[in-house]
């Protein structure tokens, strides 16, 4: 019965300054829960959630990382093979917005995706529930996105579960669309998105052919 299902695995990396809410966003999306007791993330971890997109089941593997810059270089192995990079900032913290350029660059250097100019990024402005403390306007965020090749922008609140679902669904939809486009454009290249007949070999590392 279920043995015949075929799932696509999409690997999504969340990057952004410390305290912008990366862990909260991941947990809100996967577990539909918010807690103000999350500890600062050390190292890396991921959660997965299956999502139905049109007629397909897609497994989103969402990676949460430490926000302090010096810890990035060690986790590179886990970034490889990412299908989408979610950049997160805190709308009440202007500094976290200013860091976005370096997070984006860092990702492109470390993960070295095949087609860096067209690699899918998404920007999430978190903590919009704290509207009175807003330090980055929606307009400012949008114009940054435009300057980076029209990155989609979502204003979200992990605390209030606002727009989180929609944002990740759009991420999955976009990555999936790219997959079918890419396999049409470059049929001779291996798929960036791994289709696993029995979902067993979902992991990126274990199946590496090198």
């Amino acid at each position: 019965m279920s043995g015949t299902r075929k799932k696509a695995l999409l690997k999504v990396i969340i990057l952004g300054d410390s305290g912008v809410g990366k862990t909260s966003l991941m947990n809100q999306y996967v577990n539909r829960r918010f807690s103000n007791q999350y500890k600062a993330t050390i190292g890396a971890d991921f959660l997965t959630r299956d999502v139905q997109i049109d007629d397909r089941t897609v497994t989103l593997q969402i990676w949460d990382t430490a926000g302090q810059e010096r810890f990035q270089s060690l986790g590179v192995a886990f970034y490889r093979g990412a299908d989408c990079c979610v950049l997160a900032f805190d709308v009440t913290n202007a500094a976290s917005f200013k860091s976005l350029d370096s997070w984006r660059d860092e990702f492109l250097i470390q993960a070295s995706p095949r087609d860096p100019d067209h690699f899918p990024f998404v920007l999430l402005g978190n903590k919009v529930d704290l509207e009175s403390q807003r330090a980055v306007s929606s307009k400012r965020a949008q114009s940054w996105c435009q300057s980076k090749g029209n990155i989609p922008y979502y204003e979200v609140s992990a605390k209030e579960a606002l727009n989180v679902e929609a944002a990740f669904l759009a991420i999955a939809r976009d990555a999936l669309a790219r997959e079918s486009q890419e396999s049409n454009d470059f049929p001779e290249f291996p798929d960036q998105i791994r289709l696993n007949p029995n979902q067993q070999s979902n992991s990126s590392g274990s199946g590496c052919n090198c």
């Binding site: 050390i42 192995a77 029995n198 990126s204």
Partner: protein
């Protein structure tokens, strides 16, 4: 929606290959059946408790079931609704513990969090996502039978304890849907047996019998000597598999897995040959090293106030003749809670071992003044000043963010406007001024919080923290070179202690050991409960029985997970997940025992060990004798 689906369907049909078409049909059929077939519960076991993975270590009673649904078969657990019955479990040591579903003594605010925590435990797992499970059936009176499910992605679910029954009904019903097999090497591990992969394994082994391809490679001494074993395997994977196993039914990933498994099954080879990187790391050599069996190690009871006082001279200093003895006592049993406040100051170098009470009091007053001065340096910075002091401002905002989320589930730090959070903030901010170059780095608050919990005093906490940072500051440096160095040392140690695991990790691109990063960065703070962390740290602070004992603890834990990692065929991501999920499920005494036993194994063969291994542990001929007790503590750690 419907026209769109139809459009998609036609579009896919036109554009995609047969495989994708089948996929769409499958999902359409399953969507259809989903709405028509009701769920059927084929097994329901009440009285199965989940263990909360927080400080309370409470057990939550619930119901375990196996449910057939139109979309698949699911193992489900949810907390009982009628959870008024508290129940008793005899623990391993014969003591009994009472498990209250929800103790009414909880304050209102705590109760809210707790019920959320309980809801969080409920799960529903597709049997096709199950990779294996730990199944423990203790002898009568020795605790309750339990299972812990492990997924293909490496996730471990909460352990479930069976109150009334054995786990056999669960195992039996599960067998209807999955082929299960006990791990050859670990009786408590039940592995889901993948039929497709197994069919391939047969064909591979037939191939191996006939063609003997793998053993020919293995027997080629030149190849074996020049390369690590796993590199031969990768040659086999790249060159041999594609030609001999061109079977469309099985993915190439599975073929690779199987070849790796075949390699691991070759015990004879494995036991004879130990491959490790030589110190220069330029090429690999094959050595033969048989470690002696692990000795039985017994932990001792923790050091009491009375025992501690017996090590003192009349002036309050520690008798230098007894110092080593004292350290060994702390190493073997840890400290009683009541003695920590006094003992940690010494172990962390805040107070010197040979300092009398009077001398320390005098110096303490000076240090107290020094602290207040440094504290004034940051607390007098105005908001306006801060605007033009970005380096300071960045450090400050990191401290504020992390203090607010450090150990907030521990009662000592619970609640809004908790005074202890302010103290923690002050200590960390003053450290920023004490060592502005290093500043504040994430993980430091994890090191500071137990110190504050024990000291209950800002100034004492600060100077103990300085002592602790003297040992661990290199973990936080910008280039992360020291962390990388420890990861490399850990890999080399695993290679000596458990070459089977080391080879497995290497062939699964996991020998950078990054999955141990959190362990090493904050000394297992995130892996153990608050109190277990206190015990582990004081043991490590003794600097006994060798340098880098922290790494031997890592080796001990990894060693205990060898079969789980290999039998589940975990790769890079799954290993990370599995290791992360060990958090709060480790027994500190067992791990310290195992690590010490490994130390004795290595120590007994020190003249046969590669020289770099001896250097890591500071044992053998190259060992450096420490010049002073306090220095030994810093160097050893």
């Amino acid at each position: 929606m419907l026209p769109y689906m139809a459009y998609r369907y036609v579009k896919n049909k036109r554009e995609n290959n047969q495989r994708n078409m089948e996929e769409n049909l499958d999902s359409m059929v399953s969507n259809l059946t989903r709405s028509m077939v009701p769920d059927q519960c084929v097994l329901r076991i009440p009285g199965v408790a989940a263990k909360l993975i927080d400080e309370s270590e409470e057990y939550v009673p619930g119901v375990l079931s196996i449910v057939e649904k139109s979309i698949g078969v699911f193992i489900e657990w949810s907390p009982s609704e009628d959870s008024d019955a508290s129940w008793v479990i005899a623990s391993d040591d014969g003591n009994t513990e009472t498990y209250n579903p929800r103790s009414p003594s909880h304050s209102a605010s705590l109760e809210k969090t707790s019920s959320e925590d309980i809801a969080k435990l409920a799960f529903s797992l597709d049997v096709n996502d199950l990779s294996s499970y730990k199944n423990i059936e203790p002898k009568k009176g020795k605790g309750l039978p339990s299972i812990r499910l492990i997924c293909k992605d490496g996730t471990s679910y909460v352990p479930l304890y069976f109150r009334n029954t054995s786990t056999s009904a669960f195992n039996d019903v599960l067998q209807r849907y999955l082929t299960l097999r006990r791990s050859n090497r670990e009786a408590n591990l039940i592995v889901v047996y993948d039929q497709k992969a197994e069919a391939l394994a047969k064909s591979v082994s037939m191939l191996d019998e006939n063609g003997d391809i793998l053993s020919r490679f293995m027997q080629n001494p030149y190849m074996t000597a020049m390369t690590g074993f796993s590199k031969i395997t990768s040659f086999v994977q790249d060159q041999v598999i594609p030609t001999v196993l061109d079977n469309d039914a099985v993915s190439s990933e599975e073929k690779i897995r199987l070849m790796r498994e075949l390699r691991l099954a070759n015990d004879k080879f494995e036991e004879q040959m130990r491959v490790h990187s030589d110190a220069a790391g330029e090429f690999e050599v094959v050595t033969q090293l048989e470690l002696p069996p692990r000795p039985d190690i017994y932990r001792e009871s923790s050091v009491t106030q009375q025992m501690w006082d017996a090590f003192k001279l009349p002036n309050g200093s520690i008798d230098p003749v007894k110092l080593h003895h004292l350290k060994m006592n702390v190493f073997r049993g840890g400290l009683n809670a009541e003695i920590r406040r006094e003992a940690w100051k010494l172990l962390l170098g805040y107070r010197k071992w040979d300092e009398s009470d009077a001398e320390f009091e005098k110096r303490k007053q000076k240090l107290s003044v020094e602290y207040e001065n440094m504290k004034r340096q940051w607390s007098s910075i105005t908001d306006d000043q801060e605007k033009r002091f970005s380096k300071y401002s960045k450090r400050k905002s990191l401290v504020e963010k992390d203090v607010a989320r450090t150990d907030r589930t521990v009662p000592f730090f619970q609640g809004d406007d908790n005074e202890n959070l302010k103290l923690l903030h002050n200590v960390l901010m003053t450290y920023v001024m004490y060592n502005f170059d290093l500043g504040y780095v994430q993980g430091m608050s994890d090191f500071a919080s137990p110190l504050l919990f024990v000291m209950k005093d800002e100034v004492d906490t600060f100077w103990c923290f300085v002592g602790l940072m003297n040992i661990t500051h290199r973990n936080f440096e910008k280039d992360q070179a020291y962390i990388k160095q420890q990861m490399n040392q850990l890999r080399d140690l695993v290679m000596i202690v458990n070459p089977r695991l080391a080879n497995y990790l290497e062939s699964h691109q996991s020998d950078d050991m990054y999955f141990c990063f959190r362990w090493v960065l904050v000394w297992f703070k995130r892996e153990f409960s608050f109190l277990d962390t206190c015990k582990l740290w004081e043991v490590l602070w003794t600097g006994q029985p060798c340098a880098s004992f922290l790494l031997l603890i890592c080796v001990a834990i990894l060693d205990s997970q060898t079969n789980v990692i290999i039998d589940n065929k975990f790769g890079l991501t799954e290993i990370l997940k599995h290791v992360n999920d060990l958090s709060m499920h480790l027994n500190v005494e067992e791990i310290l025992t195992a690590a010490e036993a490994i130390f004795h194994q290595l120590s007994a063969s020190q003249n046969k060990l590669p020289i770099h291994i001896c250097q890591y542990l500071n044992i053998g001929e190259t060992a450096v004798t420490p010049t002073s007790p306090n220095r030994s503590f810093e160097e050893n750690l």
